[in-house]
């Protein structure tokens, strides 16, 4: 059996960055307070020391941070730019969505542009939309962005390594509430996780829940509860939204006959619509034969407020998963 070490989510990400920076000296990282506060949220004390100026602090100029990542990637560097939160991606939106995600295509350039845009979503506590919001659905609509949203320390490490080695731009969104969570056994030996491969986080036979990032934990907790009531839930963790492992969803739903799509992003025009359509397009007959129509569970169509008392009501919780599953034809 392979050797393992115990790492939490944030240390797993840190380990991935460390390893890749050691492996390839073109990898560099910049953003706000990475050095001065050892990782902006203090995520990773000490991790950055050995790389000297290859990790640098910037002023608070997110549009410039993002754009320099792109320009440096076109000029031979493999940058990781740190943008703190998935909500802050909106302040460098044009650069990310249109230029990083589209400019190469506008000009017909299929050459490399290896850029990792790194941030976190899912930070509650009354900090409001920018710290808590899940913005991935927006970036799925960009023509050229890969999107990674890991739900475990194991996945976080393997996917970060793949992201850094990818020759195309990748948005890597960590999930805030997991960062300092429980340690998991992580192989000491190097491993990479390919993009576009979903992971079955729990097997089941009555219903498929497709989810990713922070929602996986909630789906698993709900599955545990539902199991007690005789409902067997399969939890499919997409891990990457672009590319999307549609085949894995289809395979699971072929078995269960029911599909629930759950995410923390807001419902209206959220990722669920795309996921459902992809399944319909890939397996129209399967969709026709479902035991009950596809459902979605998502954040309500409201901004996350500056109030600690409302988050829980606006964002999907374990009980909401349980409740909606029960409406899906188990009587």
């Amino acid at each position: 059996m392979a050797e393992t070490q115990m790492l939490n989510y944030v240390s797993a990400i840190g380990a991935a960055i460390n390893e890749e920076m050691r492996r390839d000296e073109r990898v560099a990282m910049w953003g706000e307070d990475l050095v001065s506060m050892q990782g902006a949220y203090g995520e990773n004390p000490g991790m950055f020391k050995e790389f000297g100026d290859r990790i640098k602090d910037t002023p608070i100029v997110e549009q410039a941070i993002l754009g320099t990542g792109m320009g440096a990637a076109l000029a031979g560097i493999r940058p990781i730019v740190w943008l703190m939160t998935a909500g802050f991606l909106t302040i460098a939106f044009e650069g990310l969505f249109m230029e990083v995600g589209g400019l190469r295509q506008e000009y017909g350039y299929a050459g490399p542009m290896p850029l990792v845009v790194y941030c976190r979503s899912g930070i509650g506590g009354g900090f409001g939309a920018h710290h808590c919001a899940s913005t991935e659905s927006l970036f799925m609509h960009s023509p050229g962005l890969k999107i990674v949203m890991p739900s475990t320390a194991y996945d976080a490490k393997g996917l970060m390594k793949t992201a850094i080695r990818d020759d195309e731009p990748v948005i890597y969104v960590g999930y805030g509430a997991l960062y300092f969570g429980a340690k998991e056994p992580i192989p000491t030996e190097e491993y990479l996780i390919p993009f576009g491969k979903a992971d079955i986080k729990r097997e089941g036979k009555d219903i498929t829940i497709v989810c990713y990032s922070g929602m996986v934990r909630k789906a698993l907790a709900a599955a545990e509860e539902l199991n007690k009531e005789g409902i067997s839930v399969e939890v499919v963790d997409l891990r990457t939204l672009v590319p999307m492992d549609v085949a894995a969803i289809v395979k699971s739903v072929e078995k269960t006959g029911r599909l629930l799509i759950a995410h923390e992003a807001m419902k209206r025009a959220g990722a669920a619509g795309e996921i459902a359509f992809r399944v319909t397009e890939a397996a129209p007959d399967l969709v026709k034969s479902l035991k009950t129509p596809i459902k979605r569970l998502a954040a309500q169509n409201l901004a996350i407020p500056r109030s600690i008392s409302l988050d829980a009501q606006l964002l999907p919780q374990v009980e909401d998963v349980i409740a909606i599953v029960k409406t899906m034809g188990f009587d």
């Binding site: 307070d33 001065s36 902006a40 608070i60 506590g125 209206r268 407020p305 500056r306 109030s307």
Partner: protein, 320 residues
Amino acid sequence: MAIPKEKLLEMYRNLITARLLGDKLAEIFTTGVAGRTGLHRGTGEEAFPIAIQANLRKDDYLKLTFRMDFTLFAKGLLLRDVIGAEIFRDSSQFGGPRYRFFDPDNGLLAHTGAGGEEPPIYLGAAVAIMYKKTDQVCVCVMGDGFANRGPMHEAMVMSAAWNLPIVWVIHNNQYAMGTSVKKSYKIDDLADRAKAYGFPGETVDGNDVIASYEVMKKYIDRARNGGGPSLVVGETYRLMAHFMGDPQIYRPKGEAEEWWKKDSIPRYQKTLMDMGILTVEDIDKFQREIEAEIEEAATAALALPQASYENHLKTAIDEI
């Protein structure tokens, strides 16, 4: 032109209130009733926002830095509502601001979670003043950190082009999170930023109440009288951590101690005493009165309701 005694004492009261309120908020946060930790304390930086607000009317528009919002009682908010907003209570049904500090009718338009998105919004209030032909003004205070961002620049460009009634202010407390202002600016005087736009810029000792009051008065009056935009930089220092709990590994030893020596309170006390306006007995009396006020306000604030889900739903524009 001498500052009236009442104004001087009002600022003194507000300064002491701000200091004691800051301590009280830290205490409340430590007990956990706020529901989260990590308060962004502003102790030591109160003089400048107090002096700014001493020049404003309730119907003027004002944005402070998020860290200094707790001084908004100086613009007319109740102490209770200020504390309430800091601990996520909703005082709007009692006439206070909404969750945190948002109150368009009293000139508070927003803090944006992405810091530095406010300047265009506040400039919009100045545009409205232009169209409504009132004599209101708009004061938009940015931290040294967020002041580097693009939206502030664009808003300054447009404020100059349209000659709008707004005073841009940089509250320079020398740090943005762990980043020293020396690292993000290669100019010594942040007021030089004004030279890019063609309006006046001036730097003032933000720990000096009277100097701050006078400089702000000059540019606020100017804006009110159609003179257009300007930039004021208040120099102060973030004596506290970025947030309660931040280990402050970036701060050179001894730096904070040096700045404590420049603290506004003893300096202002001495000035007022030298002017014969304040006695040792007054100091004591004010202190006791204010402490009692804050106690009372804190108790009232804790009794304020949390934001209600039902009310919140009224903000929806479509099915939720």
